[in-house]
Every structure is written in C-alpha cells, then in structure tokens.
C-alpha cells in the first residue's frame, strides 16, 4: 500500500538486495546535503534515508553525532528537511526520513506527516519511537500515506518482533548489533539470526543497518537481508564531497549485486 513497495518489488525482481544510504539533511549545508544525496542515488542507492539533525542523538556514534552538530551549527532548521526531501524526490530519487521523535512531536505529528508527504517523502524511520507510544503516528501515517519503519533489535523478544512488524509498513529496520551507529569491521553475527526471527513474523522486506561500510560487507548482508543500510560510512566519505559518496555508493551497489539473493 505504501510508496516503498515498488522499490522492493524492483530489487526483488532483479534478485538482489536494495541499497539504502543515509545522510543528515543540512550536512554540511542544506544545499550540500542535496548534492550529496543526489550523488548517492545517481551512483546506486535505491533509497536514501534523510536524517534529521538532533541535539541528543542517543542511538548514534561519534560520526553521526558530529555531523548533526555541524548541520545544527550551520543553522539547519526542521523546515529545511522538506526542502531536501523535495529536491531529492524531484530529481527522481526515493527518500524516507530518519528522525528522533521529539522534533516531529514538537512540529506536530500530523503537520509533519502532511508536509513530508507533500515534499514527496515516502515514510519515516523512528529510532526512539516504538509502536506502543505511536498512536498519533499510526493515524497520521495512514492519513498521509506514509510508510512506518520501526526497528527490531537482537534483544527484541518474539512477542515484540511480532507487534513491531504488525505496526510497520514499507520495510522493517533490523539493527545488526547491540550498540550505536558507526562503521565496524564486522557486522554482528546477530544480524542474520535477527532477520531470520523477523521473517517468521512478516513478509515485509527487512533492511539491516549499523556497521556496514564496504562492498564485501554489503554483499554479506544482502545474502540474508532485503536491504543493506549504510550510514556512518557515507557521512565519513562526505568529507571528500560528491565524488566520495558516489564512489562508496558504487562499491556498495556492486556488493548488493554480487550477493546470493535472499530466500524469502
């Protein structure tokens, strides 16, 4: 039903995992982030996650914390998010937003959903909103046709996985490791197990994030998940500007294409 379904229909049709790249809006500037995100899409990201810079990002490691601080110091305002999403969408890209919940709550959950949908955004990933607390969001996302991407973690019980995926649409975000964001040499062995446990409860695509930074890791993750989510590594490569993120996107896009397709 949501706008994300065609993205995964295509990647599944091609027998590969989707590549999802993250970058905060407004990093290093509003215009700069638009160029970077367009470059990421152009070089192979099937979907981008546009992050909302936030003062207290408790799920993020040092790289994304620093990027958020840079964006906020450069004067990022929440309304700039919609500018970024609109620019990405108009260029033919597919975008979801990743945001801690307080900025949305403050803006007004319905107003945020309305404005995001109007800008062409397809859904929202909510790292600190669980479905139990999300009544407003469930209603607003229905009203404005946005997908709800909730998270599951290695520590989630079967019961919680079941209730979380039941409230989700578009895809489910599986956090590969217990910890904060940041590139790692190894993606946790817990990831494959979590994906398997989650599949038992849903036919939604499952994306795996936290720690992926190389084409080889992307290939590994794409062998058991429907999407590979890469964040901190893109933020780091953004130091080299558009060529940096394009190079990484291309490497990762090759990775998801060399993997054995997931069964499911």
């Amino acid at each position: 039903m949501g706008g994300l379904d065609p993205v995964f229909e295509r990647t599944r049709g091609e027998g590969r995992g989707a590549l999802i790249g993250y970058l905060p809006a407004g990093f290093p500037t509003v215009d700069g982030s638009i160029d970077l995100l367009k470059g990421m899409i152009d070089a192979g990201c099937d979907l981008v996650e546009v992050g909302v810079p936030y003062s207290d990002p408790v799920m993020d490691g040092p790289v994304i914390q620093a990027a958020a601080e840079t964006a906020l110091k450069a004067g990022f305002r929440l309304r700039d998010l919609f500018t970024v999403v609109e620019a990405v969408s108009q260029a033919g890209g597919k975008a979801v937003v990743m945001t801690y919940w307080n900025p949305v709550f403050r803006y007004g959950v319905d107003a945020f959903s309305r404005d995001l949908a109007a800008a062409g955004g397809l859904g929202v990933i909510t790292p600190d909103l669980i479905p139990d607390e999300g009544a407003d969001w469930l209603a607003a996302s229905e009203a404005h046709g946005l997908d709800r991407i909730f998270l599951v973690a290695p520590s989630s019980s079967e019961e919680r996985i079941a209730s979380t995926v039941a409230a989700s649409s578009g895809f489910v975000y599986a956090t590969a490791v217990m910890g904060v964001t940041g590139a790692r040499d190894q993606v946790g062995g817990a990831a494959a197990g979590l994906v398997e446990r989650t599949r038992a409860h849903t036919s939604l695509p499952i994306g795996v994030g936290l720690g992926v930074r190389s084409g080889a890791q992307a290939a590994e993750v794409a062998s058991f998940a429907d999407a590979v989510i890469v964040g901190s590594a893109f933020v780091t490569r953004a130091e080299e500007g558009v060529p940096g993120v394009r190079a990484l996107a291309a490497e990762l896009a090759d990775g998801v294409r060399t993997a054995r397709a997931p069964i499911g």
């Binding site: 003062s55 403050r106 904060v180």
Partner: protein
C-alpha cells in the same frame, strides 16, 4: 489545623497505589517509553524484577536495613529558627538528607537499584552524574556490593566538581569525562544510554533521577518516598500539625518527588518545587524546565523540556551542577498540570544568598542545589507570615561546593 491532616500517610513506600502510573508508565499523558527498541527488553526485565521486588518482604526488609544501618536513616528533622528570622517569621524545618551517608538523598535510590542489580544477576553498573552526588552514591553502593562501576560525567562538571571525581575514583569507580554536546549532565545521560545499548546484557543503568523511560520514574520515586514518610511523621511529632508548604529543589526532580509523596494526600499541604533560575529567567540562562519549558521527549519520557521551536534541546544553565538539566521527571509535569504542585524558580544569586545565610545562622552548609529550596522558603515565609510552617528538603550538604562558593564570594582573593 483541620483533622484531615492527621490521617497517617501510607507507611509502605513500595506498595502499588493510586499515584502509580499506568502499566506503560504514563502519569496522565506524560512518561512512557520513548526509547530505542534495543533497550525495551532491558526496561521490561527491570520492570518485571522491580514489580516482584517491591512486593517481596525480603527485598524491602533488606532495603530498609541498608537505609538504617548503612545510610543512617532516619535523617533528622531540624528546626532553623535563626534562618527563619529572614523568612517573615514563619517556622522553617529542614529535612536533613545532608546527613545521610555520602551526603545527599541520592543514597536511597542507589541502594535500592544496586539491590535490584544483584537480583537481576548483573555485575556491572553505569551511572551519570552532574554534581557528582549520584556518582559518589553509586560508586559507594557498588563498592559495598562488589559491582563494577562506570560513571559518565560531563567534562565541564568534572572540572567544577573535582573533589567528587576523586571520591569516585577512591571508591573504585571508573569516571569517564563526556566531551560531547554541552558536556554536562544531559550529555552524560546520552553517553550512559549509548553504553547501555551496547552492554545491556551485563549492565544495569543506575539512573539517578526520577526521569527516563518506565519504570525509572516510579521506581526512583518509590526508593525516595522514605524522605517524605519520615518527614511527615517527624513534623507531626515536633509540631502537632502538618506544614503549610513543602519546598524542594527540582533538577530532574528526585528529592522533590520523594518528599512530596509523603504529603501528596494531604490537600492542605502545598508542594512547591524550586527550579534553577540561573542568571535570571529573562536572560535565557536557566534550568527552569517546568516554569519555562513545554512538553517534549528527552531521555526516554514525555515531560516538560527546554527546547527550541524545532524540538532541539536547549542547554540549561545553573551555578549548581546538579540542577542544570533541561528535562524533568514526568510525574512533576503531571503534578504541575493537575495543580497538585507548584513550580517556581530561584536565581543563582538568591540561592547563593540562602547558601551563605543558612551557613551563618544555623551552622549548616547546604548543597547549592538545596539552597534553591532554601531561597524558595525565604519567599514562602514572607508570603505565609509568622503563622507559616515550612518544611524544606535539605537534599545535600555543601562540602562539594566549597570551590564554587569560595570563588563566588571572593574568599580566595581575601586570603
């Protein structure tokens, strides 16, 4: 006073009651769990263990024994007549949490949660600290119970409270200076949460205030209820009546919620929280979350919050390292909205005046945090007049604040 005041408060602070939040931790619309899914399992485990423990006579007896034999409870109730001369002639009574082991109310909650940590079979404890009082109390309980202890403390605060850093280290804790964000209490909590999500299987996050995701607000409150229960009985014994007002400082709000709950069912007793007014509300440099903030989420609960138009947290300021927190416990938000409690602020200058005044009139050096409550009492006394009876929660002692005070009053220049 009327007879209704003489109804004894519930004596058992651990029994579930009408002031508990709903099963998901909501006080009215506030509280709840605005937390990453990765931590929900740990919060569920903690809730389940706490719900069992609070009804387990062995647990509550051990907690009560530690409060008595280790922390030194009950703490005294001391009348402060020379101080009260400056409070419009009202009678002022101090609940002496400063006399507890480690020098503040923080030990109550810490002993309770450390016992729970052992029940859960966890060996490692992490904590955040602002002024250092909660960090010292946590390091103390971990030393007592043989638990590994890591304390996150904003880099700015490690400098303001160097003595408490030394105390924690002596007690065997590792102190990690936090260099992110505003480098104060809020960022210490962020960093502790990042540690917790990484090490949740082995580690209990011993949160120091009545904030955070459920069950922290209700659990921390219940561990501190002993303050109010003792104070109510002592006040009745000493004066034959209840106070007109109970004043307590509010940063995160743990000492205030603890003493308030002794009187929450006494409608004639005003509950007055005093927030840090910093350099003055009009300057924007303050920590008066309930007075000046608006509803929002921080560190896992919906409550009042100092935030800008976009929902970005605004950094709080206070001369007191224990009060400069831009959030506040969710039950205080509910008490404010329902008008059961009222919240005011005292500036740095008003607090430091009260700090010096209590020292010189009563020979008691209060924590700068608690001095905000004393400053509030000076005003309440003026309002109530000579018939007024005020109870102040003297939540901590001021030894840790000597460097700040000496600089503030220019003592170093004199010598």
């Amino acid at each position: 006073m009327t007879g209704e005041h003489q109804v004894p408060a519930a004596a058992d602070p651990h029994q579930p009651g009408q002031h508990d939040p709903d099963t998901k931790g909501h006080f009215g619309p506030y509280g709840g769990r605005f937390m990453p899914e990765a931590l929900i399992g740990a919060l569920d485990e903690l809730s389940a263990e706490y719900d069992k423990a609070r009804l387990d006579p062995e647990f509550t007896a051990e907690f009560t024994r530690l409060l008595r034999d280790y922390a030194g409870r009950p703490s005294l109730l001391t009348e402060a007549p020379r101080f009260a001369e400056h409070a419009g002639g009202a009678r002022v009574f101090l609940k002496r949490e400063d006399l507890n082991h480690t020098g503040s109310h923080k030990i109550n909650n810490v002993l309770g949660q450390a016992l729970l940590t052992k029940r859960m079979g966890k060996k490692r404890v992490i904590a955040e600290t602002g002024a250092g009082q909660h960090g010292v109390a946590t390091a103390t309980a971990c030393a007592l119970m043989g638990l590994d202890c890591v304390v996150y403390m904003g880099e700015v605060d490690t400098q303001r409270q160097a003595l408490n850093v030394a105390r924690m280290k002596l007690l065997g804790a590792e102190v990690i200076p936090v260099k992110s964000g505003s480098r104060t209490l809020k960022d210490a909590i962020n960093e502790a949460l990042r540690d917790w999500v990484t090490n949740v299987d082995s580690t209990h996050y011993l949160l120091g205030t009545a904030a955070g995701g459920h069950p922290f607000p209700v659990m921390v409150r219940n561990f501190h209820k002993v303050i109010g229960i003792e104070a109510r009985a002592q006040f009745l014994e000493l004066t034959g009546r209840l106070p007109d007002a109970v004043a307590a400082c509010v940063g995160g709000g743990s000492n205030a919620i603890g003493i308030f709950h002794g009187f929450i069912d006494d409608p004639g007793v005003r509950l007055v929280g005093i927030e840090p007014g910093g350099k003055g509300i009009e300057t924007g440099e303050h920590g008066a979350t309930l007075s000046e903030g608006s509803p929002g989420m921080l560190h896992g609960a919906l409550s009042y919050l100092l935030q800008d138009e976009d929902g970005q947290t605004i950094e709080a300021y206070s001369i007191s390292a224990g009060l400069d927190y831009p959030g506040v416990g969710p039950e205080h938000a509910w008490l404010k909205d329902t008008d059961r409690a009222e919240y005011r602020s005292a500036t740095d200058a008003e607090a430091m005046h009260a700090f010096q005044l209590l020292s010189r009139t009563e020979g008691i050096i209060p924590a700068i945090e608690s001095s905000h409550a004393l400053a509030g009492a000076l005003k309440l006394g003026q309002e109530l007049g000579p018939d007024g009876h005020i109870l102040v929660n003297l939540s901590g002692r001021g030894d840790k604040d000597m460097d700040t005070a000496a600089k503030y009053f220019g003592f170093y220049e004199e010598s």
